[in-house]
């Protein structure tokens, strides 16, 4: 193979792999992205059942009910609106009423989320950033105060 041919082979291989990577990335992007919304946004945007979402806010005090088959029902609130969440499994160590939480799953009816993942904060100083921003927007966040 000539020098030119070898260089072409190398460039072709590089472009080929890059194109495959790009193609895979674009394809994967079309259906693997999950939007993060606050309960008010879910209501405002009138999200239809079936869509995968992440919803962040505070666990509404008094809303948590646990049933025998390890299903837990609670509501996520941002102070204005709330979304009912149903989740089967063990909740994170720091899941508590009134605390920040993020639930990921799909809406099975308007205003009701069937969650497959629950994220809570990792220590008392920490809160999911998205939740902090939502609370700031709602004017319910005091800088430096322990949540």
């Amino acid at each position: 193979m000539t020098r030119k041919g070898r260089r072409l082979a190398l460039i072709a291989a590089a472009l080929g792999v890059a194109a495959i990577a790009l193609g895979l990335a674009l394809y994967a992007l079309t259906d693997n992205i999950v939007f993060f919304l606050s309960p008010s946004e879910v209501v405002a945007k009138n999200i239809q059942p079936g869509a995968r979402l992440r919803i962040g806010g505070l666990v509404l005090p008094g809303s948590v009910t646990r049933s025998a088959d390890e299903t837990i029902d609670f509501a996520i609130t941002d102070g204005k609106n709330q979304i009912e969440v149903s989740y089967r499994g063990l909740t994170p160590d720091l899941f508590r009423e009134g605390q920040g939480v993020v639930a990921e799953g799909a809406l099975d009816a308007p205003g009701r989320l069937r969650a497959d993942t629950i994220l809570a904060k990792h220590d008392e100083r920490y809160m999911p950033r998205e939740v902090v921003e939502e609370l700031k927007k709602e004017g319910r966040w005091q800088e430096g105060a322990k949540p």
């Binding site: 193979m1 070898r6 291989a13 259906d31 063990l90």
Partner: protein, 661 residues
């Protein structure tokens, strides 16, 4: 008092780092050996002073000196000594100090072993290393001073985050930092080579050992982090494609690409510009990792209480080094003497393909990690790019890289014979197919991807073995032992590392055949999970030094026979009023039964999540085998630091070894 000494030592270290940056660089320009020699002395002195600072902070933590803010906020007098010590880096300030300690240690190492280097190259490399050190020391002193005092001193500390009260904290961050920061030396060498305008096989021989050291530690650090997350978070997952995990995977991918392309530069004097580029990229990813983790832009367990000033400072460091090095690259790389080109079907051709796949995988991980951040800045929309995206992009590209590994490892340099290699790998290919077909037949209607991954894993492992067999048995059984001794250690290292890749892949495939159950268990109740039955025997409480456990004692049985006992627990820490999950894990052969529990109810019923994870341990054992391979390669005398001349060519060495004594 020691705390002030530590603070002062850190200031001196910063001064020394600046000296290390300026003096050798000027010396190299003037050709003055005395000035150039200052670099090595400054690097070693800098290491000593950072070590003094680190020791001072460690002493404050071990003696629970709560007049130091860092100790008061992150330690507690009731902590066991091991957590008092590992708590030194269980917080932002201390972890940055550990980072700088390792950075200066690598600088001292390069100074000590760099005597065989061309003087100007060595001086420039130490100057670059000094600049990195100066940037991070300034970052610590100006934004994250661990030696700040608190008056009046509180009687008790705020305790170490319970999630971090784990042996994992003693092991994972140091290993990971050794990996991250190890690439700084390779980066400095690359910058020096660009300044000098010369890259050759000798350069690759100097840079590669450092890259191998960094790579071994990074491999172990990533694996250790994965295992820690697996046993501590109680979800049974070992990889979440969390941005922080991605931040450690990207330098690993770039570093893996580097050690392969540096081999081509060393052996064939080709891919030189590319190798330099990868050296820059690998450390740039380490810096991006530091930024993502320490600036608070991400939501993660690794994000300590964040301060916007820090984020901006790290971003400035990041921008300076990445933009600076890429500018240097754009300016100085084109005049570099281009190396030879090579035939597509050859060892070097295969290594180039490996590089393409690894860097594309790395690029997709980078894209998936940064896209949500960029989108939020641009449109305000918040999205999550999760596991499905990464599996479909980086995952597939890495599987492809695994597929080509045995071919590349068996191909000869210069001009390979693909047909011959295929014949040599026939047994491995057949083995992979047998595994694939057998698994599909046994688990009909089961997972699809797992049997493919398992078949591929078998192919990769058998491929590494068959290359060993082919090399050792080339002249018959009677010569096998002599030939095995004669093969260079770097060959054994390569074989081991590639075998390790197969082992890890097999572990990942095993996960696809696992089982999972969620149940509320009463005492005496049994639950089936996979081939085992888990019985809840008793529920009780137990006191630790600074916590209280609610323990569920369980036994694991197989066909009525007792196999193992586990004690999953909920651990309540009094100081921070937080609870953590202590999973109960029993390793059975290479698989694991994994149980995590929720808070026991008043009537003694325990909510439990039970998993059977076949072959799970192989995921991490494979990483250990990979690191062992790196270590073997490192021991090869060809790669010894400052080796005066190239040792005998491998073929000649092998021939000499095979000769009857």
């Amino acid at each position: 008092m020691t705390v002030e000494i530590g603070h002062f030592a850190l200031i001196l270290a910063l001064t020394l780092a600046l000296v290390q940056t300026v003096v050798p660089f000027v010396g190299a320009r003037r050709g003055d050996p005395a000035l150039m020699g200052v670099g090595a002395a400054a690097a070693m002195a800098q290491f000593v002073f950072v070590a003094v600072a680190f020791a001072a902070l460690a002493r404050a933590h071990l003696t629970s000196d709560f007049s130091v803010v860092n100790v008061a906020e992150n330690s507690h007098s009731a902590l066991p000594a091991i957590y008092k010590f590992s708590g030194v880096w269980g917080n932002h300030e201390g972890s940055m100090l550990l980072w700088v300690l390792i950075l200066s240690a690598f600088g001292a190492l390069a100074a000590a072993f760099g005597r065989g280097l061309p003087a100007r190259l060595g001086a420039d490399a130490l100057a670059a290393q000094g600049l990195i050190g100066a940037a991070f020391l300034a970052f610590i002193l100006f934004t994250s001073n661990p030696f700040e005092r608190l008056w009046p001193a509180p009687f008790e500390g705020g305790d170490l985050n319970p999630v971090l009260q784990d042996p994992g904290l003693a092991i994972h961050p140091p290993l990971l930092y050794l990996g991250y920061v190890g690439f700084s030396i390779v980066f400095s060498f690359a910058a020096a080579a660009l300044i000098e305008g010369r890259v050759d096989a000798a350069w690759a021989r100097f840079a590669r050992p450092f890259a191998l050291v960094a790579w071994c530690f990074l491999t172990l650090g990533v694996a250790m982090g994965s295992y820690w997350a697996y046993y501590t978070l109680g979800w049974g997952g070992f990889w979440f494609w969390d941005p922080v995990e991605n931040a450690s995977l990207m330098p690993w991918l770039a570093g893996t690409a580097f050690i392969h392309s540096a081999a081509v530069t060393e052996k064939r004097d080709a891919l030189k510009v590319w190798t330099i580029f990868l050296a820059i990229v690998a450390f740039s990813f380490s810096l991006i990792g530091a930024f993502l983790v320490r600036s608070g832009v991400l939501t993660s367990v690794h994000a300590f209480a964040s301060d916007p000033r820090r984020g901006v400072f790290i971003l400035a460091i990041l921008a300076f080094f990445i933009a600076g090095s890429l500018a240097l690259f754009a300016w100085r790389a084109p005049p570099l003497k281009q190396g030879g080109l090579f035939a597509p079907i050859s060892r070097e051709g295969a290594l180039a393909l490996n590089n393409l796949l690894l860097t594309s995988a790395c690029a997709t991980v980078l894209f998936g990690t940064l896209y949500p951040l960029a989108l939020e800045q641009i449109s305000g929309e918040k999205i999550t790019v999760g596991a499905p995206f990464f599996n479909a992009t980086a995952g597939l590209l890495m599987l492809a890289a695994c597929f080509f590994t045995p071919f590349g490892f068996s191909l000869a340099w210069k001009r390979g014979d693909l047909l011959g290699v295929a014949q040599r790998l026939a047994a491995a290919i057949a083995g992979g197919f047998v595994v694939l077909v057998a698994l599909i037949a046994v688990f009909r209607g089961g997972p699809v991807l797992a049997p493919i991954a398992a078949g591929l894993a078998a192919f990769v492992m058998l491929g590494a073995l068959s290359e060993v067999v082919a090399r050792v048995w080339r002249r018959g059984v009677s010569f096998a032992a002599a030939r095995a001794r004669g093969l260079p250690l770097s060959f054994w290292g390569g074989a081991a590392a590639h075998f390790g890749v197969g082992v890890t892949l097999l572990g990942l495939a095993g996960v696809g055949f696992g089982a999972e159950t969620i149940a509320t268990m009463k005492v005496g109740e049994a639950q089936k999970v996979g081939p085992y039955t888990v019985v809840l025997e008793t529920v009780g409480a137990r006191n630790g030094p600074n916590y209280r456990d609610a323990v569920a004692a369980m036994t694991i049985r197989s066909g009525g026979e007792f196999v193992a006992a586990i004690e999953p627990a909920r651990r309540q820490f009094s100081a921070r009023e937080t609870t953590t999950t202590q999973a109960g894990i029993a390793t059975l052969d290479f698989g694991q039964v994994y149980v995590s529990i929720g808070d026991p109810a008043a009537d003694g019923a325990v909510p439990a999540r039970l998993y059977w994870k076949p072959l799970a341990t192989l995921i991490w054992l494979g990483a250990c085998v990979m690191a062992l391979g790196g270590l073997l390669s490192l021991a090869d005398r060809r790669l010894r630091f400052g080796a005066p001349a190239r040792a005998k060519a491998p073929a000649a060495a092998a021939g000499a070894g095979a000769r009857p004594q």
